[in-house]
Symmetry: C2
Subunit: 365 residues, 2 copies
Amino acid sequence: MTNITRPTLVIDKEICLRNIERMAQKASDNNLHFRPHFKTHQSVVVGEWFRNFGVSAITVSSVQMAEYFAADEWDDITIAFPLNVLEMNNINRLAANINLNLTLENKETAEILAKHISAPAGVYIKVDTGYNRTGIITSKTSKLDAILEVIATNKKLNFKGFLTHNGLTYSALSTNEIFSRHFDALLKLKSLKQRYASDFPNVEISIGDTPSCSICNNFSEVDEIRPGNFVFYDLMQQSLGVCTFDDIAVRMVCPIVAKHPSRNEVVIYGGAIHLSKDSMQNTDGKEFYGRIAINKKGEKKILNERNYVARLSQEHGIIKVSQKNFDFFKIGELVEIIPIHSCLTANLARRYLTTQGEEIKMINS
Amino acid sequence: MTNITRPTLVIDKEICLRNIERMAQKASDNNLHFRPHFKTHQSVVVGEWFRNFGVSAITVSSVQMAEYFAADEWDDITIAFPLNVLEMNNINRLAANINLNLTLENKETAEILAKHISAPAGVYIKVDTGYNRTGIITSKTSKLDAILEVIATNKKLNFKGFLTHNGLTYSALSTNEIFSRHFDALLKLKSLKQRYASDFPNVEISIGDTPSCSICNNFSEVDEIRPGNFVFYDLMQQSLGVCTFDDIAVRMVCPIVAKHPSRNEVVIYGGAIHLSKDSMQNTDGKEFYGRIAINKKGEKKILNERNYVARLSQEHGIIKVSQKNFDFFKIGELVEIIPIHSCLTANLARRYLTTQGEEIKMINS
């Protein structure tokens, strides 16, 4: 850490391993296939850490990411994003080389896929349990049937089941609300499974949100979980009650470049192109972009909510700190920011440094 | 454009050239040194376009960017960011090779610089005319004097003048407010110049915000302008009244992957890692992340404010469109999104495609 001179995303490998082990154990305890989402870390090095916990199948959110991990000998990949028909050539190359699963949610795309697929591929149908981002509402079975009919026209396509992302759990106001939103999704998925079980005895249900995979214990009818964020966690998950501060494995470490005593503000080299503009609402109602961790007398400490990243421009970050802490921050030293949303921060970082000093590359390093 | 299969930032070179020419002309008409900020485009190829308009001196916002452009024979660079003393080694290497200007705003940093600088460098003092991001409030002359005293202790350091960024113009509610905020800054800078003119007859005033550089016509006492965003402009500038839609040179072109007629929503491959989470408030009070440009019957058209990017997750974008336009969007086709903040979108894109089909690399391509 002492060699850091520019904003650097530092990850604690021990915490990552613990997070992976806990989720792998949970999957195993609940008889769930564990297919972690690699969109959060986007790194073949971090990917290796998962293999040690028996992970051999993964999820990604783009064809590009599938290509990146396939090149590192991951040969069982689900692209959990609505099929982009403009990438059929790349998809066919992937399907020829690995066990590739695709995601469909409309008949038009299914028809193009059935016409152009040139190697065997698994197919999940994306369903919507109420989040309303995308996917077919679970009760609209005629739409599901229409896609299934198209899939059946091409022997290369193997229908595997229904995939969903219950994004509603990210906006829950309490852990109880996460439980109830998860349970509501389970009920919908259960009817779905019952309806299709006779025609497709192996039909799978795959779910993906980190909040419910982290804290819920009822996964009836679920066959597979695809959480991603849990490997790092972040402030958003901590504030939901899904993880503790001790589970957050990432910090953006930034140089301090200026101080403004009249307004208790500290200026860091670390802005929107390092942390991302994802924000949360602080206790005082104001948007903020990260919290602050310090080492005080050899002890790690997270400063309370009166100390936070208040504003971001391209490379500047403005930290608001309480009067009591102001003198602790010194120009030319480093400060650790806990990011709001680790997926976006990691994507901007393009590389990691571990707390042990190892440099780790990512997809676009 | 027909070969695009993934989210791609397309730039219109003709519009960029027009934007550069207009700003270069304005600088010349007002007897201002034109030192454009290259943090927006971050590309040596786009940098070349500036040379044709007589630009030989540039601004950047990090040592890393200075290194990138210095490697492309830019030999007069101002780093308009508070000096990060942790990068002294890199700064010394740069100063040995090019005309480098640094930015100071506190005595601690000045002392470290004076102690460690090993080659001649220009120094600007960053002043704050009311934006309160960073810099010394213009009336705090004792703080300015303290820095000047330190600079004077090392002959390698050459005090050049005062540099400011009047970020207040970006939150103006009308062009009149931009004029008045600019004028307010000019008054403060004028007193500053008067106070220091006898001791430093060549003291310069350097300002940087795109809004006032674009639309104001009074630059009394200003010696240099450093706008950056104007090369591309964006929705934020258009909504401020600083540019027209026709001046915006960038579009994020994204594949359409799904449609939801029941809520008039179109799902694109294009999310927070492509557009950034920078948002604006729509006429209905809701946050949004971009507007939509279409080609209808051979004519370019920007859809009205009832059509917009409503939500973003990592790779998904959800576009809300009016009923009337819904059928225009077809799965498997492309849609053009006008970004809210082109600097952040360009930084995420990592490369450009011109409307003529030329691929353009950036700093981290």
